[in-house]
Amino acid sequence: MISLSQNVFSNYQSGQMGQTLGLLGLGLVSIITFMSLTAMVLVYVERKLAAHFQCRLGPMRVGWHGTLQTIADALKLLLKEDIVPKNADRFLHALAPLLTVMGALLALMALPFSPYLTVADMNIGVLYVSAVSGIGVLGILVGGWSSNNKWSLLGAMRAGAQIISYELSMTLAILVVVVFAGSMKFSDIVLSQSQGWWVWRAPLVGIVGFIIFLISSTAEVNRTPFDLAEGESELTAGFHTEYSGLRFSFFFLAEYVNLFIVSAIGATLFLGGWMPFHIGNWESFNQVMDLIPAGLWFGLKVAFMIFMSMWFRWTFPRLRVDQLMKLEWKILLPIGFVNLILAAALTISNFYFFAN
């Protein structure tokens, strides 16, 4: 099926600029809408899940079972006074939340939601997503620095060190799948899993890669047990201590969209994206699985990944800075390298399930 981006490019070539711009605009608007909706839903889900983990009910008053609570909260955040600290760098202070949101927005463009639904399916999709998700940390660093608050600065420095370190492990884990699939294009990676998801089809290296990805992606999005950048019991609120109102809500939005993005990437690379659960050439089994629509498969897988992340958050305490670095550089990174070399060897020797 022709994706939106291909449409855009073909139209561009045939000189229909008006249609091109219209399609691009449609894509952007739908992504932005999707982004805010995702964040709202995820905030509600997170609050409900947290409540049930903690033997309480969570939001119950606004709407049925508190479903309208996040809308009320969003309205409250919009109406709140926007406070800028006295000696803050006003320009950077205003820029930081935009940078963070931009990183999340750009990464969302490349994700294949279903075979028919991708904004931009580029041939270097994986590389692109790893690159633009790095912009988010820039926002955090700038926000912490410009706030003119020592706690914010500490949080920002922690976030910088943490995200840059864990990006290595995350990339190594992603590369395992890229090596097996032989492509960096998201749609190709999904199609390569038509005989089974890489998490089990690549013997051992798949599951090891998946676990490394799960750990490092949790660190990437600054969630417990790696929420050192916010670390509210240590740094009050970390890098966004001095933010309020709309700007704070931008950080908040980006946090949840990033959660969605890493979950979607994990689901796409390791759990087959929108690809139903197929086993090799068991044709009848595969056909039964195909009855469930592709978009639903994707949604369920992402929901599973998000649930794992929330489960971590409401169970684990926070690591210390040096322990965090130790985990990355002394444990995850060596395992990741060995895993990648092993994956390459397995690919060359065609030693994986249902190898051609």
Binding site: K150, L154, L228, S233, T236, T315, P317, R318, Q323
Partner: protein
């Protein structure tokens, strides 16, 4: 205006030679008085090198309400309720400490019922206080769920107290000469239900929190203080016992009916946060044991052996009495001049003395360690400032 503490710290920095070759710049940061993990309005001025705490100066006085001075004007009878506001998590034990001092001054012999009920209720409050500490400890290490679990179970004891005492936090239950009211008819049954309920919950606490490798990594060998230093700094309670010194007033100078019951005094070996954690967890077990031994045979008798009017007039002299609260030794000292108001009243509160051991524990650790240490000594700030 120059802050005296900060300027004295600045002098200390200028005098201290640069230790690292990288020559990083040290800086000050105020932790508190408005900070989520200083448990109130404790202010700590930290000298930091990156994430490492180099020096620490606690600054007190943000919640000083002059309770000692106020006691001189409100008199012995009303003064008891002021002690609720010292260590609000041990209000009953504070009441007991003051009442015991006044009873000692006036030579009042209490009957067995009063002593037994006081012991049971105090032990219940020790458990209650440790439950809250456990929850907050989890929160300070970044795990939110223990907080809610701790409060869920604390509520059970609070309900028992509410039935008998009528209050949930500031009890004002013990009076010189007995208790304000007799125990509620359901008290015995409810306490038994609670013991049955809480034993397996302690296991759940271990599963949820201390069984986790991250918690163990965060607590082991963090904030070590040896027994000798802890003694020198005047630390008492679990902080001292975790350093290996089995100093517990309930054993050493038994009051109430502690001499009649069997219980252990848990001690630690290393004196780190992990030991302080374990000591408190075992103390909850021991408290359950104590209550279990007493609850079935509360002796009959009056709940007040001596009813005072509005005024209590102890004989002239100086009196001191001390008891073991959930955080350590709570001592009451007062000077009486035969009027109904003390000439001077002083409290030796456990938190004030425990706090200073932080000066030995924290330097060299990270900010995150400092948070864990503060939580492991279980600070209650109103108790320090009084």
């Amino acid at each position: 205006m120059v802050n005296p503490e900060i300027s004295s710290l600045e002098k200390r920095i200028q005098q201290s030679p640069s230790k690292t070759e990288l020559n990083t710049q040290e800086y000050f940061v105020n932790m508190g008085p408005q900070h989520p993990s200083t448990h109130g309005v404790l202010r700590l001025v930290l000298r930091m090198d990156g994430e490492t705490v180099q020096d620490i100066i606690p600054v007190l006085g943000y919640i000083h309400r002059g309770i000692e001075k106020k006691s001189e004007s409100v008199g012995y009878r009303q003064q008891v309720h002021l002690t609720d506001r010292l260590d609000y998590l041990c209000s009953l034990m504070n009441n007991w400490g003051v009442s015991a001092a006044i009873e000692k001054a006036m030579n009042i012999e209490l009957n067995d019922r009063i002593e037994t009920v006081r012991t049971i209720v105090a032990e219940l409050q020790r458990i209650q206080s440790h439950q809250l500490w456990w929850g907050v400890f989890g929160m300070d290490l970044g795990a939110f769920t223990p907080f809610l679990y701790g409060f869920r179970d604390r509520e059970k004891i609070t309900a028992i107290f509410e039935e008998t005492i009528g209050a949930r936090l500031t009890m004002n239950y013990f009076q010189p000469g007995g208790m304000m009211y007799d125990i509620h008819p359901d008290f015995v049954q409810k306490v038994k239900e609670f013991i049955k309920y809480f034993r397996p919950i302690l296991k759940e606490y271990e599963d949820l929190f201390s069984g986790n490798i991250i918690v163990q990594e965060r607590l082991r060998n963090v904030g070590i203080i040896d027994g000798k230093t802890a003694l020198a700094y005047g630390a008492t309670g679990p902080v001292l016992r975790a350093s290996g010194i089995p100093y517990d007033l309930r054993k050493i100078e038994p009051y109430g009916v502690y001499s009649k019951v069997q219980f252990e005094v848990p001690v630690g070996k290393v004196g780190d946060c992990w030991d302080r954690y374990q000591v408190r967890m075992q103390e909850m077990q021991e408290s359950l044991k104590i209550i279990e031994q007493l609850i079935d045979n509360i002796p009959e008798g009056k709940h007040m052996v001596m009813k005072f009017g509005a005024k209590i007039r102890p004989p002239a002299g100086r009196f001191y009495s001390q008891i073991e609260t959930a955080r350590g030794v709570f001592g009451t000292f007062f000077v009486s001049d035969t009027t109904d108001k003390p000439y001077r009243m002083h409290f030796r509160t456990p938190n004030f003395h425990n706090l200073w051991s932080v000066l030995k524990m924290a330097p060299g650790g990270r900010v995150a360690d400092l948070v864990a240490i503060l939580s492991s000594i279980d600070v209650v700030v109103p108790d320090m400032d009084r």
